[in-house]
């Protein structure tokens, strides 16, 4: 991953990558609202403005009291964000990689997510946790896991995994102003691939999926960097005459049941694809919900594709085998379509 993509020209109209979009969202949010704070390891400009540059420029513009680099102390990072949030601020806390949320789970799960409920509504914890993850760079077993299923299973925290730069901008603007804790996962490549962003991209509501492509034979639901893979499969399937409706979930919890179920009811077939492990993964909830809501209405069982039951491997060859690839999606979609 290059650290210099932030410096790529951001022209008034269009192209921007995810990293630039998040940076723009943070700039805008901090400008508009003095209560917005940013903290995390290496995030201030003295420390390079973040390991991949997402927060670059913020501390220079807003000062190191609002944009604070921290020690390597994830419990302390989330704890400080919780206290500041309860004290009236809107902190955006970075946990450098999603695997490192494991050292801060108490703060996230037992505190951030629960304090409003346990206090009978007296405590408000409007904070965002930003974290990066994703396989594909041979970072191996401890640097590429997707744990969104854990957080979806935890009441009181919202889970967002954007795909496009426009969504990054819009979902960040919403998450920062949301009255409750939100974890946003920056999923590998999504930070680095430029796409068109409306010049004045405003907030995009949390909890709403995006129908990326309409279709009639099968619905494929995905999110994050796996959307790139799904779109490759979509091209091939379209060429092969299969009409696919592609849905980018965007928010994984609470997820947009209405949009997904309406689409699955229309096409009669549903396939969920994610990078997280298939076993007890997010797709299980979607499949379980759909089989109940659409009992007797589906022409095939709900399909699920996700990582196999193992750690993320190092060797490129194994990493490729570990990740869901377009041919698997194509084969599974065709199998489901052929079923009835």
């Amino acid at each position: 991953m290059s650290t210099d993509t932030l410096d790529a020209p951001v022209v008034e109209t269009v192209k921007m990558n995810g990293l630039q979009a998040i940076n723009a969202a943070l700039m805008e949010a901090m400008e508009a609202d003095p209560k917005v704070l940013v903290l995390g390891e290496d995030i201030a400009d003295n420390e390079g403005g973040g390991v991949v540059g997402v927060t670059r420029g913020l501390s220079t513009k807003f000062g190191t009291m609002r944009v604070r680099s921290t020690p390597i102390s994830e419990q302390a990072i989330i704890g400080a964000a919780i206290g500041a949030a309860m004290g009236g601020y809107k902190p955006v806390a970075e946990i450098m990689l999603m695997n490192f949320t494991t050292v801060a789970m108490d703060m996230i799960v037992n505190h951030a997510a629960k304090l409003r409920f346990m206090s009978g509504g007296q405590s408000q914890v409007p904070m965002v946790i930003r974290t990066l993850t994703g396989a594909g760079n041979q970072t191996a077993g401890q640097h590429a896991d997707f744990y969104e299923a854990w957080f979806c299973h935890t009441a009181g925290i919202k889970v967002v995994i954007p795909w496009t730069p426009a969504d990054f901008k819009g979902l960040y603007l919403s998450a920062i102003q949301d009255p409750d804790p939100v974890i946003i996962v920056e999923s590998g490549k999504t930070l680095f691939v430029p796409m068109d962003v409306p010049v004045n991209q405003g907030p995009i509501p949390l909890g709403k999926a995006n129908v990326v492509a309409p279709g009639s034979d099968i619905t494929i639901v995905s999110y994050g960097q796996m959307m790139f893979t799904v779109m490759q499969a979509y091209e091939e399937l379209t060429k092969a005459g299969v009409s696919v409706e592609v849905i980018d979930l965007r928010t994984i919890s609470p997820w947009d049941k209405e949009t997904v179920l309406a689409s699955a009811e229309k096409t009669g077939r549903l396939l969920v694809v994610h990078e997280a492990g298939r076993n007890f993964g997010p797709g299980a909830e979607i499949a379980a919900t759909a089989q109940e809501a659409l009992f007797g209405k589906l022409k095939a069982p709900v399909g699920r594709l996700g990582a196999p039951y193992c750690s993320v491997p190092f060797a490129k060859k194994l990493e490729d085998a570990f990740l869901v690839q377009p041919p698997e999606i194509i084969a599974e979609a065709q199998r489901l379509v052929a079923m009835g």
Partner: protein, 342 residues
């Protein structure tokens, strides 16, 4: 008492005046009467929650709280009702909460382990060992940003000084010079484990050296000693100079949790500790020093007992929360009934 090798003895020992001493005593006896009533209600089956009595530890938060303003904050733990009562949290919503009623401070959803009362600065009560400290830092950061002189006190036990969160929180507070006072109520035990079997240093205050902050070991049963050190720590925090670690040595008379049989301690050590009960000692001192009279103290106790009884009666008359509460306060926006299960 003693100071750590890195920290000079306190130079300007602030001394509580007569009025302040009386106020400390008022808070102590309010804690003690409230604790006694709680245990008696549990014995009578009118409260069914686990209860972690702080009987014996009254002096610590009382001598600290007289130095705090209403908008100064505390983050405390399961064994923390004494910290709240010392902070002058009203007893009616407290009791309604521990009785699981809708008029409780948390609508009956949090219970004794998660009591919260922002109006008196009781921000967080947590059941996870060590977790009061990282959150206290956030209030400290907010106070710096707000430009107020507010301080936050994080209360925790001796056993909690061995968990990772303690370390991360104290280091961050020191690097950021946060207005936080870390108060360790060292009662010599973590559940059933003796201090020395879990903690590799003879004084927890020495750990302050590793965070470049002042640390003091204080006689937690002596209001004058606690006051002097808390005064210095709070002044330091308000002056923007950063955090302090106060280790206050004390004892919990009622074991870890209601029903504890104290099997892990000797009769002798318990008797010795109880002989150092801070309450009768301080009462006698106030009388001996001519600060007040026995009659005045008895009258004070009477008023407090009336307050406690009123709170109990209030609580017992309150309604239980409606089941709809399960859908409320998960998020700011209520979860619609139809989505209840998902």
């Amino acid at each position: 008492m003693s100071e750590t090798s890195e920290n000079r003895a306190l130079e300007n020992r602030a001394v509580p005046d007569a009025k302040t001493q009386l106020d400390i005593y008022r808070r102590m006896i309010r804690i003690e009467r409230n604790d006694d009533a709680t245990r008696s209600q549990i014995r009578r089956g009118r409260i069914t929650a686990p209860y972690y009595s702080a009987r014996g530890q009254e002096c610590i938060p009382s001598a600290i709280s007289v130095l705090l303003n209403n908008d100064d904050k505390i983050c405390t733990i399961y064994r923390g009702i004494h910290d709240m009562v010392a902070k002058d949290m009203p007893l009616r919503p407290l009791w309604a909460e521990i009785c699981g009623r809708v008029d409780g401070t948390c609508k009956g959803k949090g219970g004794p382990m998660h009591l919260t009362h922002p109006e008196t600065g009781v921000m967080v009560t947590t059941g996870i060992v060590g977790s009061s400290m990282p959150i206290a830092n956030g209030f400290g950061w907010a106070a710096l940003l707000d430009g107020t002189k507010q301080v936050t006190v994080a209360y925790f036990g001796d056993g909690a000084s061995n968990i990772g969160a303690f370390h991360e929180a104290l280091n961050l507070a020191s690097v950021w010079k946060l207005p936080v006072i870390f108060v360790c109520q060292n009662n010599g035990f973590a559940e059933h484990t003796r201090y020395e079997n879990g903690t590799a240093v003879d004084q927890i205050s020495k750990r302050a050296i590793g965070y470049g902050m002042p640390g003091y070991t204080v006689d937690g049963n002596d209001p004058v000693d606690v006051y002097a050190h808390a005064h210095a720590a709070i002044e330091r925090a308000r002056a923007g100079e950063g955090p302090t670690l106060l280790e206050c040595k004390t004892f919990r008379f009622m074991g870890h949790v209601f029903g504890d049989n104290d099997a892990y301690m000797t009769k002798e050590e318990k008797a010795a500790a109880m002989a150092d009960d801070p309450l009768p000692k301080f009462r006698q001192k106030l009388i001996d020093d001519g600060v007040t009279t026995a009659e005045e103290l008895d009258a004070l106790t009477g008023r407090i007992e009336a307050e406690v009884n009123d709170a109990i009666e209030f609580a017992m008359a309150c309604e239980y929360p409606s089941d709809d509460e399960l859908r409320r306060d998960v998020f700011a926006e209520e979860i619609p009934a139809k989505e209840y299960m998902a």
